[in-house]
């Protein structure tokens, strides 16, 4: 048997993978930056923990209730902020996370700053792993569905997606609510593994940690968040012995990871995964490269504008503009230019 230390580490990894996958749906697929993901985890954790310890509700039911209550809060935060184009969600979730933390701190039933004690140890590696597989499977199905493609379209160009008849607000809010629900379930697992909850476990730092996992692994892909979560769960443990500085100033490194990844490799460690898994792009990419050129004849090479609009149509239709594509961008904005540049380089 594996030692209790590694067993615990594996459970934590499972919880982090669910968190990263669910944030990825919001940030990676739909392109909406959420900075309060840990708050949803906290809501799920406290809901499930209180339900089992105070009201004697069965574990699985409490887990689902945690997910539902987190989803409900997701709806409350998401509706006013996601209606608008822009970056309001980032600020609103950041503020929401702080308010939730303060509210939990000031409530009686949550135990306030002393924390919630006496939760039964119901979760184990098997339940955590099962939850990971369920989360992975549902999110994979979701991302490959019409709904997932609509999210990608919204991420790439909201105006164009709206013109294609996608109900932008509905899709964004739904993605946000589903992400919150899975975060709540991860929170329930957390509660029934550690048996003790403290508001500081769900503070801003945790949200940043999860965002770093998603960004490091690769936004928008399925493997990316998993790999990011595994790496960032194990790295501090491995480095703990090597250097005191690393474990002491983890947040310092998370901040640096976010900036450096955006500057150097915005698609993440396994960013190419988006194309393999989500949209099966390689084949079509081949078509774009050689066959498309042949089909269009010399017109493509001589007329810059015609070429651009051709690429535009291709890129839009396939949601091809990848998060990493922007580095080659020169002037102008939007998918048009990015798609065009990618093509010119390939």
């Amino acid at each position: 048997m594996i030692s209790p230390y590694y067993y615990q580490l594996l459970v934590i990894t499972c919880i982090n993978v669910i968190m990263a996958l669910s944030l990825n749906l919001v940030t990676g697929c739909a392109g909406q930056l959420s900075l309060g993901h840990a708050a949803f985890m906290g809501i799920g954790a406290y809901t499930a923990g209180i339900l089992t310890s105070v009201y004697g509700v069965p574990f699985l039911l409490a887990l689902i209730a945690g997910g539902v209550s987190a989803a409900l809060f997701g709806l409350i935060v998401g509706l006013p902020t996601l209606r608008l184009k822009g970056d309001y969600l980032a600020i609103a979730t950041l503020g929401f996370g702080e308010i939730i933390r303060v509210t939990i701190l000031n409530m009686k039933i949550t135990g306030g700053a002393f924390g919630l004690r006496g939760i039964a140890k119901e979760a184990n590696l098997a339940t955590a792993a099962a939850a990971v597989f369920l989360a992975y499977w549902t999110l994979m199905r979701l991302m490959k569905s019409r709904f997932g493609r609509a999210l990608t379209a919204i991420r790439e160009d909201e105006v164009a997606a709206g013109a294609m008849g996608i109900d932008i607000t509905r899709h964004k809010v739904l993605a946000f609510v589903i992400g919150a629900a899975w975060a709540g379930i991860a929170g329930g697992l957390f509660a029934h593994w550690f048996r003790y909850l403290n508001p500081s476990s769900f503070a801003f730092a945790r949200s940043v940690e999860i965002l770093s996992m998603v960004v490091l692994g690769g936004m928008g892909s399925l493997e990316g968040p998993v790999i990011g979560a595994v790496v960032l769960t194990y790295a501090p443990e491995i480095l703990r012995g090597a250097s005191d500085f690393v474990s002491r100033y983890r947040m310092f490194f998370y901040g640096a990871i976010l900036v450096i990844m955006m500057l150097v490799r915005p698609q993440g460690l396994v960013g190419a995964g988006v194309f393999r898994n989500g949209l099966r792009l390689p084949e079509i990419h081949g078509l774009r490269g050689s066959k498309a050129r042949r089909m269009q004849g010399p017109k493509l090479r001589t007329q810059e504008t015609a070429k651009d609009s051709q690429q535009h149509a291709f890129a839009k239709g396939l949601g091809a503009a990848m998060p990493g594509g922007h580095r080659k961008g020169s002037t102008g904005t939007g998918v048009r230019q990015r798609g065009g540049d990618q093509h010119a380089d390939s």
Binding site: G31, L84, Y88, I91, I99, V159, F252, L263, G329
Partner: protein, 289 residues
């Protein structure tokens, strides 16, 4: 009641100073500069260190803090935002939040987590006008922030660089075609915004007698809320929004319990986004195609 108005004014004018930085940067780059709260914090630290130099008068320490923060602000833009100017918005936003976390924790590592006291460089006096009580801090905060805002108004409306800023905010590409060095204008915008945040940081740090690495987070967020309330991108909007937010917060705390202090700001944000997302003075937020 009148007392609360004065308290709201002093608090609000510091929010306004922070909001100005957000709104100016948003005006030219359409980017929320998440690291703005950290610039405020670094400004407070710089001011604290400068005020410990013996014999240095307070206005000089304030200027040093503003200059130091301006350098930091320009550096942030150069390192974390400029390479991503043509990138999708999400990339710049993540870079911004990363920069904010990085700076906060860098300060934490260098300066330590403890809260430092801000030595008061002058004698604190209390004035009473009827039942109204005002101390030197209130006067200093109001005079300094109003002075800075008037200065900013003239800079933006009358100076050549201000004209260039307004042109860049309107249309970056066209501005650069007209011979405006857009990079220089953006760097200048960051410098001015950061200097204003630093002034707010020094004033608040001194008023509450506390400077610490995480002090920038909440004022940073509230500065943004103030900017949204006034209309993101609008300079008079940021001033009015800041003062309104300060008033609302002081009144709210007087009516409710003080734990809800931070919730008030975000309640206002939610209301503004639901009712009038463009804010009081905001223009059309619709994206141009």
């Amino acid at each position: 009641m009148l007392q609360q108005v004065v308290n709201g004014l002093t608090l609000g004018s510091t929010y306004a100073l922070i909001a100005l930085g957000y709104t100016m940067v948003y005006g030219v780059l359409r980017l929320i500069n998440f690291a703005h709260g950290e610039v405020y914090m670094i400004g407070a630290f710089t001011g604290l260190m400068a005020s410990q130099i013996p014999g240095l008068p307070f206005p000089a320490a304030l200027l040093i803090a503003m200059a130091g923060a301006a350098v930091v602000g320009v550096a942030i833009e150069r390192i974390a935002y400029r390479p991503l100017r043509k990138a999708p918005r999400l990339a710049a936003l993540i870079s911004a939040i990363g920069m904010s976390i990085f700076l906060r924790n860098l300060t934490l590592a260098v300066m330590g987590p403890q809260t430092r006291a801000f030595p008061v460089p002058f004698e604190v006096r209390h004035f009473s006008i009827g039942r109204l009580r005002i101390n030197s801090f209130d006067v200093l905060i109001l005079v300094t922030s109003v002075g800075l805002m008037i200065g900013l108004h003239f800079l933006v409306q009358k100076a050549k660089i201000g004209k260039a800023m307004r042109a860049t905010a309107q249309d970056m590409e066209t501005a650069s075609l007209m011979g405006i060095d857009v990079n220089r204008v953006i760097a200048f915008t960051f410098a001015v915004g950061s200097a204003l945040a630093a002034a707010a940081g020094v004033l608040i740090g001194m008023n509450f007698n506390a400077v610490e690495p995480s002090m920038g987070m909440m004022p940073g967020l509230k500065g943004f809320v103030a900017a949204v309330l006034g209309g993101v991108g609008s300079i008079p909007g940021a001033m009015i929004g800041g003062i309104l937010l300060g008033m609302a917060e002081v009144m709210g705390v007087a009516l409710l319990r003080s734990e809800w202090r931070d919730a008030i700001a975000f309640g206002i944000l939610a209301l503004v986004l639901l009712i009038k997302p463009s804010g009081i003075f905001g223009g059309n937020l619709q994206e141009k195609v």
